[in-house]
């Protein structure tokens, strides 16, 4: 059984300008102990999908199963149990901690809500802070006294508090400097080895995903363009969007940068208010044909265990 199963998930937002189809039929599985990278450009719906899994935004169709249990009909009490299993780390380590709460209180909150005794909570907070590499006196201090990387560690400690099975990491290192980024990524990997937690790792930074993910899902305009093993995707991307995305990433090698062939993807992500008919990528696709304007491709096997949604691969 998959730890997390998404079956044709839809999320819609009603706005003054019309209905935004933020997530438009996504099916995906995440196995126990696996790190799944979810990549795509801003506005492709990857964060919305993460929030839908946490039940922070309602879904308009489909099913989200956590350990086989559909989360849609859960009541408040059952939802608390579910959230014990699935936790989230947010992008902005400044905005996701209460500035008026000490670090100790923020990290203790999950245990307080779960009804732990004060003594057990205090011990747990100390253990958690030690795991994420913060000094124990951190618990009496306030978020503003910490650097961005340290604050992200506090967020990780809070997410780990009740030993979750799955952590949804929504751009956890995007706001951090490169040298600090590596430390936080290493911490996440160490914790995975130690506690067997799985990650859904949402990021627009391909180099980070290449480093941490076992499998990768590429999202475009609310749908999945390609899903496959990390090495498979990097070595032989099949979907034209995956190819363009990988080609756009700068390479830290000046000679290679000058000589490698480069197709710069033209235009921008179309508005999800008015997505193109047929294949969502056809308006920017280098190999689009008439069929792509009419018929939406579905995910199908393209070799190497990967799936891609394209008529012509």
């Amino acid at each position: 059984m998959s730890l997390l199963s998404l079956r044709d998930v839809h999320v819609r937002f009603n706005t003054a300008a019309g209905v935004v189809r933020a997530v438009n039929g996504v099916s995906l599985d995440l196995a126990v102990g696996e790190t799944l990278g979810l990549v795509g450009e801003s506005g492709c719906g990857k964060s919305t999908l993460g929030k839908a899994i946490m039940k922070l935004v309602p879904i308009a169709g489909g099913e989200i199963l956590v350990e086989g249990i559909d989360i849609a009909p859960l009541d408040r009490k059952q939802l608390t149990d579910m959230r014990r299993k699935v936790q989230m780390i947010f992008q902005d380590p400044y905005g996701s901690l209460n500035p008026r709460s000490t670090v100790g209180r923020s990290v203790a909150q999950p245990m307080v809500l779960a009804g732990w005794t004060a003594e057990a909570t205090a011990t747990r907070v100390e253990t958690l802070l030690r795991w994420v590499g913060l000094p124990t006196d951190a618990k009496q201090r306030y978020p503003h006294e910490f650097s961005g990387g340290q604050r992200q560690r506090i967020g990780i400690a809070r997410a780990l508090a009740l030993s979750p099975r799955l952590i949804i990491c929504d751009e956890p290192v995007s706001a951090l400097d490169v040298s600090v980024r590596a430390q936080v990524i290493n911490l996440l990997e160490d914790l995975k080895g130690e506690f067997g937690v799985s990650y859904l790792f949402i990021s627009h930074d391909l180099s980070v995903v290449e480093h941490i993910a076992d499998r990768v899902a590429v999202m475009y305009l609310g749908t999945l363009a390609e899903v496959g093993g990390r090495d498979q995707i990097w070595r032989s991307p099949q979907h034209p969007y995956t190819k363009a995305l990988l080609a756009a990433a700068p390479v830290a090698n000046p000679r290679l940068a000058r000589t490698r062939p480069r197709t710069v993807l033209q235009g921008e992500l179309p508005s999800p208010l008015d997505p193109p008919a047929g294949c969502p990528f056809h308006s920017r696709c280098p190999i689009a044909q008439d069929r792509c304007k009419a018929e939406r491709p579905t995910l199908r096997p393209v070799g190497g265990g990967a799936l891609a949604a394209c008529h012509f691969v």
Binding site: D177, E210, L245, A248, A249, P250, A252
Partner: protein, 265 residues
């Protein structure tokens, strides 16, 4: 002939209640016409403060340039009165900021913001400035440029806003362009578009460019030479190939290793 930009021993100190901080400490660099020099280093190392010092955009107090020269086409900007700087900024030296959304005026149309640069520095009238603004938007690859003239920044995406900022920076064909993390806030696909655009504009006009970034991938893609900063000082300067082949300073080497570790896994 004088180089477009020559910075010699530039020092900027922040005078705060908690003491003095040497934010830029004796920085020297020079940029030739058509050349791109990348200024790299991690957050807080003084790259942006160096750029703002060159542009003389830092508020005094707390910041003051305490020494050195910034020679723009041979003329020292540090000694120039503020009125003189008004003529130079936007005219001889342009700047692109990191966050395109917040570097545009949210309550003015795109046309008005580009036209303001043109009308301040040239004799163009309103109508001519509008026509030129249209041309500039097309030059920076703005989709549907004519219609965007009357748009407000919130109606555009981050990538489009950055194109507007670039159009403003190059409006008067400056000889020097300072780009402070111009693609950090953008997606990789849009980043690739903006980097290609900057390279093209530079090749066409022969601008000298100072490119501030913390991304060594972007350095490899854009720079001819690299200046590495650490704690307000220049710790290494090298041609881009040499820097990646044989980094001399331990900090640069560490940085490259961190970067490759993140890339290669």
């Amino acid at each position: 002939m004088a180089l477009p930009l020559e910075v010699v021993g530039l020092s900027t100190t922040l005078f705060t209640r908690r003491g003095e901080m040497k934010a830029v400490d004796g920085l020297s660099l020079s940029v030739g016409a058509g050349e791109t020099v990348a200024l790299v280093g991690e957050s807080g190392c003084g790259k942006s403060l160096s750029a703002l010092s060159i542009m003389r955009l830092l508020p005094d107090p707390p910041a003051r340039i305490v020494g050195g020269e910034v020679r723009l086409n041979g003329r020292d900007l540090v000694q120039l009165p503020e009125e003189g700087m008004l003529d130079i900024r936007g005219q001889e030296i342009g700047m692109i900021f990191q966050d395109p959304m917040s570097s545009l005026n949210p309550v003015a149309t795109i046309e008005k913001q580009i036209a303001e640069v043109l009308m301040t520095h040239t004799d163009l009238g309103r109508g001519q400035a509008r026509a030129r603004a249209h041309e500039l938007l097309e030059m920076v690859g703005m989709p549907d440029a004519g219609r965007r003239l009357d748009a407000y920044p919130h109606q555009l995406s981050g990538g489009m806003c950055q194109r507007v900022v670039i159009a403003m920076a190059i409006a008067c064909s400056p000889s020097v362009l300072i780009a402070d993390e111009p693609t950090t806030a953008l997606d990789v696909t849009v980043q690739a578009q903006v980097l290609a655009l900057l390279k093209k504009l530079q090749a066409d006009a022969g601008m000298a460019m100072v490119f501030i970034t913390h991304d060594l991938g972007v350095v490899a893609e854009t720079a001819d030479r690299v200046v590495v900063m650490y704690a307000g000082r220049k710790v290494e300067e090298a041609a881009v190939d040499d820097l990646f082949d044989t980094p001399l300073h331990p900090y640069t080497a560490g940085r490259l290793v961190a970067c490759f570790a993140a890339e290669r896994g």
